[in-house]
Symmetry: C2
């Protein structure tokens, strides 16, 4: 795993370790109340909306592996593999802007296709 | 734009600048003949297959903006926005492994949903 050290990266990694180990409440302690998350389906604004977006996903994760982590004083980039209950091989990339130890902005890139396929398969059962 | 300097990053940035400015032949000079690209739809193996995967996409790009670029001696991470003729707002994340100035492995993460929607819309016209 490739890693550089910085203040923003420390926060990003602490957040990442928490949600991937199913401690979403701990993860939320690193998230600003006014977070703006740019997700593939559109913006997710504020801590409550963010909790509803990421919380359920984090509970579905069965395995995760971080393969890139870089950052400087303001921002961090994380790239990781996850397996979830419904989707095997769901990699993600995050660009996190951190101020005073809190994630204020989170840009997340992932492919929604396998999640849509899993939902469709569940509907067809 | 956030950037750190390294040998791998220099190669990644040169490749990125080339394909986003529609000089795909120049971009391919940074790509190893035995490249393995892990794309959302599956692996793309070898220079010829990679050319067929990325070449047409690069021609469709109407605008691009790099917003993160980090790296060390072996690997680089790029995150960028692109607009294409059919899809506005198509961000991507790349994890590039570089040896001797050539990209040997490229992990690319993007959301296929808007591209599938654009294809569907074109089919329905």
């Amino acid at each position: 795993m490739t890693e550089s050290k910085s203040a923003a990266l420390e926060t990003a990694l602490a957040y990442h370790r928490a949600w991937t180990s199913h401690d979403f409440e701990l993860a939320m302690t690193y998230v600003a109340e006014d977070i703006v998350c740019q997700a593939p389906a559109g913006p997710v604004v504020g801590g409550k909306a963010f909790r509803e977006f990421m919380g359920p996903f984090s509970q579905l994760v069965t395995h995760s592996a971080l393969f890139a982590a870089f950052g400087d004083d303001q921002v961090a980039v994380l790239m990781y593999d996850t397996d979830t209950i419904s989707v095997k091989d769901a990699p993600g990339a995050e660009y996190l802007t951190v101020t005073d130890g809190k994630i204020r902005h989170l840009r997340i890139i992932f492919d929604r296709v396998p999640f849509a396929a899993a939902r469709q398969a569940a509907t067809n059962q």
